[in-house]
Each structure stands twice: as C-alpha cells, then as structure tokens.
C-alpha cells in the first residue's frame, strides 16, 4: 500500500503499462509538458516523443488518428483535455470507433482508452464543467468508466488499457489531488461496482466524485442511526445491476445521486431497472439527485445551484425512509 493522489495513481498505471507494452502510447495536446493537469508528468522524458505525442489542437484528428493507429495494432491512450472538447471528436468516437468492429463483421478492434476529464471545477463555467457520461452509456460498442478514488484510478486504468474494447475513461477533475491508499496488486473487474459502505436501511447508488459525497453522507446518516449502503458503480457500461438489485432487495429504499443533469441522466436507468426487477421490494419513494436542467455558471453562488451535495444526499435518504412524497 502506498499513499498517492488520484492523478498520481492513473499516471503510475499508464507508466507501468507503457513500460510493459511497447504498443501503448499516449496522444493529445500538451502531453510533453505533462498534460494540462499533469497526468503525464515525466512520461515524455521516460518514453520519448514518439510515445508521448504532442498534437495540434485537432480533437477530431486526435481521436480519428488514434483509432486508425489502433486498427493497425497499437494501443493508444487518447487525451481529450476536457470532456467538453471531446465533443469536437464525436463522429470519430460514436460513428467510427464504437461501430467499426460490428460494421466490419468483426475484422477490427479498437483497443483504446479515451480519457475525458469531467465535472465541476470551481468557476470553469458552462464549457469546462460538464458530465456527459449518460451519452456514452447510450452508445453500443463503448465501455464507460468513472473512477472516484486513487485505488480505482490505478486499477481501473490498468484494466482499461488491457481491454480490447474502446473505453471512455471519465476522471473527475475536482479530485486530482484526492489522496488515498493504493494497492498496486489489486485488480478491478470492469463492470463490478464497489460497495463503499455497508448498511441495512437505505441504498445509495452513485459514481464519480458524487460517490465520495455519498460516503460522506452515509457517515452523517450513521451518526443519526441510519445505515446507508453506498454503491459506487465505477462503470456505467457494463454496470453492476446485480449488486444494486441485491442491495435494494435488502434495504427496500433507493437514492441515486450524480453530478450530471438529472433529466435523462444515468440515474434514470438505475431507477428504471430497479423498478422493473425489484419494484416489489421498495418500501418508500425513490429519490434521484442530479443537477437541475440548467447550465453551469461562472459565479460561485450560481455554480453551486448546480451541485449535488452530501447534505442533499442525507436529506434524500431520510425522505425515502419517511416515505415522504418526492418533490
């Protein structure tokens, strides 16, 4: 076990994968100097400019070229800088990368990790703050991962690099500095959720940084005698329905919380699945927390209007227990 930050954990995973496999390379803007957040610090010195590749500001070409290089046998790690800019490469991801293997009848593979830092990051405003994970979960062909801890950012990055499918890898930029113990021998199976806390009274399902807030909320609830079980999905496709359904069957109560806009968010998929497969087990109203369907503003007080907080999760959990009608 070593203490490290969320950003260091992923960097270590990338460094180890590159050292072990010469076909792994990283491609994106400003990577030579470490990447905008420092995710690649030191790697160009170690691996050279041909494997830590500085590119023009050409998101479509970064994504498209990495895909072409994947089809001929390399394993690219694609850096999109901010998930918001990845929208400039939507055709490449959605129409090309996700579909090629199927359209070509299994002739091709796209073993790629596509890193798209997501989320609220103080006063970054509407074009640098989005969480669009539900879009990617909607696209057949993609694996979608949302690590929330240093351990997961290490183990899941390793699993993503080893995976032969294209992986959309969504790191939360507000927790780059989050510290935690990392066991480098720990492997994570893609699609397996993590039970961050055990509890008997209410199930809280979350992912990405909101899962950390859910753990905080569960601690508060514990102080009030309420046992909350926190499930950090970690992966949105495939997602761990079994763990969620089993937990809801046990607690009979469900809160789903995410940072993305609530309308059409992945939380809706979780709730619908529970309604279909464990609806009979529900003993109170379901609560679903997400951002209002508005835009992220620059001014801090306005930005905060879009936030799901630990306090909101606490309140929602209590509402499921009181059986209060949803607002």
């Amino acid at each position: 076990m070593v203490m490290m930050t969320y950003i260091e954990a992923a960097r270590l995973a990338v460094q180890q994968a590159m050292a072990a496999d010469e076909t792994v390379w990283c491609v994106g803007e400003d990577l030579g100097r470490g990447g905008v957040f420092g995710q690649y610090l030191g790697l160009q010195v170690e691996f050279g400019k041909d494997r830590i590749v500085d590119t023009p500001i050409s998101e479509a070409a970064i994504m498209g070229a990495a895909f072409g290089a994947a089809m001929v046998g390399t394993r690219p790690i694609v850096e999109m800088r901010f998930s918001d800019f990845a929208l400039c490469a939507t055709d490449e991801l959605v129409n090309q990368i996700a579909k090629a293997r199927f359209m070509f009848g299994g002739q091709s593979r796209a073993p790629m990790v596509i890193r798209k830092p997501v989320g609220l990051w103080r006063s970054s405003a509407a074009q640098h703050s989005q969480s669009l994970e539900s879009w990617y979960a909607h696209i057949p062909g993609l694996v979608v991962l949302c690590p929330s801890t240093p351990q997961d950012n290490y183990s899941m990055m390793k699993a993503a690099i080893a995976c032969d499918d294209p992986v959309v890898y969504l790191e939360h930029k507000n927790i780059w500095g989050l510290e935690g113990e990392v066991d480098t021998s720990l492997e994570v199976e893609i699609g397996a959720a993590s039970r961050r806390r055990k509890g008997e009274d209410v199930t809280i399902v979350s992912w990405s940084n909101t899962a950390n807030l859910a753990v905080e909320a569960a601690e508060t609830l514990a102080g009030q005698g309420i046992g909350a079980e926190v499930i950090d999905l970690r992966a949105l496709w495939p997602w761990d329905k079994q763990m969620v359904l089993a937990s809801v069957r046990k607690t009979g109560r469900l809160v789903v919380a995410h940072e993305a806009v609530r309308v059409g968010g992945f939380g809706a998929e979780v709730v619908a699945t529970v309604a279909e497969h464990a609806g009979d087990a529900l003993k109170g109203p379901v609560r679903r927390l997400g951002a209002p369907r508005s835009l992220v503003a620059y001014a801090p007080n306005l930005e905060d209007k879009m936030r799901v907080t630990a306090d909101m999760i606490v309140t929602a959990a209590k509402e499921t227990l009181m059986g209060a009608a949803g607002k």
Partner: protein, 332 residues
C-alpha cells in the same frame, strides 16, 4: 503489382481491372433495380475506375487502403474477392463484413482494406492514424486514402492532412474528384484555388492528374508511391473524373445541365480511352472484347452465387459489438 516501366502488359492489366470494376457495379445495379436484392443505397463509381485501377496497381497486400461510400472499385482493385463483396451488398453470410456493413462499410482487412466509410471525410484522420501506427510499429508499408471532392469541405480534411504533414507519415491522399457533392456541383460551394492548393498549404507535395486516364494515374501514382516507399513525406494526388451515374443507383441525376453527362462520357470514359490506347499499341479488337466478356461473365456468376447465399444468422445482430458488456450476454 505492375512491373516497373511501361509496357503493354501493364496497360492491359489496367483495362482488365477497370472492366472488372465496371462489370461488378453494373451487376450490383441490376441486383438493386432489377432483382431488388440490394436493399440499401449503393454509390456506383462507373466512369471513375481509372483511379482505382491506376493507384492500386502499386500497392501490396500489406499496404493499407481506406476509401469512401463510393468504394467498390478501390476495394476490388486492392484485391478483395468480388463474391464476398457482392454478398456484402446483398447482406448475406460470407459477405466480407458478414452482411453487417453493406456497400457503404465494405472492408477486407485480409487485403489491407480498412474500410469504406458512410461519413464523408471521416477516413482522412483515420488513415493518417493508420500511417501513424505503422510508423510507431516500425513497419514499412504505406497508406492510401481515397476521398471525394466533397470531403475537402469537411473539417477532417484540414485536421487529417495537417496531422500527416507534421508527423511526416507514409501516406498518399487521393482526391477522386467527380465534380459533384451528391447533387451539388462542388465548385459552386468551394472557396479558393482548389483542393490541391489546400493540401499544398498544409505542407504536402500535390500532383494533378487526368483522373480519366488510367495510364497517367498509374504513372503518376507510381512515382509518388516510390517516393513514399523511399521514406518521403506524405503526398496528395488530385484526379479529376466524372460520375456517369447519379449519386446513388436510384438517382436519375436530373440536376445536371442538359447534355453534360453525354458530352463528358463521350469524351472521357476511362475504359473507352484505355481500349483505344491498347488498340494503338497493337492489341487486337478480339483481345479487348475477350477482356470485356470475361469480366461480365465473372460478375454474372458472382451475382448468381451471392443471391444463392443465405442471410446471416439472427445472433449476428448481437455479435462483435464489444467483449465487455456485450449484447450477447445482455442486450436490454
């Protein structure tokens, strides 16, 4: 591959390939319109065969090709099996993509053909990346990416060609310019001095060629490809040609000015020109007729065999999407 230098044998091979491409597409059109066996849209390259035959004549199987929605000719000339291609157009088992891609996504990785594309211009960045991958892996083959004139007005043209330029990749971009973007004359929606000038502005050596002259295309692309194999940087070839049919096989192309097609076809049909060139080299009319008849007979057989092949099994709808979270395990 063509022998180096010019000879009648090479000229004849170019004609054979063009006749085969045309016969393939004529039969594909019959399959679509007469037989109703091709259910989706097909984009014939009839009239544009010189580019496919002339450029592909210089590629090995391990070289890589990417193409467009109008890619039957390129694919056949790269060495794909016409029966597997026809089965693909008919959506059948044994199609080169198992019947899952159809005409617009035709691909045969076994001969280095990494896909046509249903999105105009999209292959430009992907092809640049294939060349980038080849460079990273230290391999020595080259990449050819063929796209239409319409693609020069899409963003990937700028991003992909600039990419090839800055990373000095072993790639030839070919703009097969049939002068139309679907139903719009490309010149009427394109600024500046033309597509070759755009490529030059991005640092590529650009060459213009008569895209209806198979001999010229073969000669010029042979020189370019030799430079690429010698370690030279990326290059650009602009080949102007003319699409004899509508945009799709079902398009009557009524938007063309009266008489334009008749005049262009009479003046520039690459197959007629290649036949004339071979006659002038001393080949007999009977030999030319034999090449034509053999190509037609081959593709008639191909269509018959393809039509007798079953559709793919239903499970194929869920196969080859992804390993992890595959719809084979759970689709709903």
């Amino acid at each position: 591959m063509l022998e180096s230098g010019h000879n009648t044998q090479n000229a004849r091979q170019l004609l054979v390939m063009m006749e085969r491409i045309r016969a393939f597409e004529e039969h594909a059109i019959l399959a679509a319109e007469r037989d109703r066996l091709v259910l989706g849209a097909i984009h014939p390259s009839i009239g544009q065969e010189a580019c496919a035959a002339g450029v592909m004549a210089h590629l090995n199987r391990t070289d890589i090709l990417l193409s467009t929605h109008r890619g039957h000719g390129h694919t056949l000339a790269k060495g794909a099996d016409p029966l597997a291609m026809m089965r693909e157009l008919l959506g059948r088992t044994g199609g080169c993509c198992g019947g899952k891609g159809g005409s617009m996504h035709i691909a045969d990785f076994g001969v280095g053909m990494l896909g046509a594309n249903g999105v105009v211009g999209a292959n430009i960045t992907i092809a640049a990346g294939a060349a980038h991958g080849i460079k990273i892996l230290g391999q020595d083959h080259i990449v050819v990416d063929i796209f239409g004139d319409g693609a020069a007005n899409r963003g990937p043209f700028l991003e992909g060609i600039n990419w090839a330029s800055v990373f000095e990749l072993p790639i030839l971009f070919v703009c097969e310019d049939n002068q139309y973007s679907a139903t719009t004359r490309t010149g009427s929606v394109t600024g500046g001095p033309g597509v070759a000038a755009r490529a030059e502005a991005l640092g590529l050596r650009a060459t213009q060629v008569d895209g209806n002259d198979a001999e010229a295309v073969a000669r010029v692309s042979g020189e370019i490809i030799a430079r690429l194999r010698g370690g030279g940087g990326p290059e650009f070839l602009h080949a102007v040609t003319y699409r004899h049919t509508g945009h799709t096989s079902f398009d009557p192309a009524t938007y063309r000015p009266e008489g334009e097609a008749v005049k262009e076809i009479a003046a520039s049909d690459p197959i007629a020109r290649q036949r004339a060139a071979l006659l002038a080299m001393g080949l007999g009319q009977d030999v030319l007729d034999g090449i034509h008849t053999a190509a037609q007979a081959e593709m008639e057989r191909v269509l018959k065999d393809a039509a007798a092949t079953p559709f793919p099994p239903d499970e194929a709808a869920f196969a080859d999407v992804q390993d992890i979270g595959s719809p084979m395990q759970e689709a709903y």
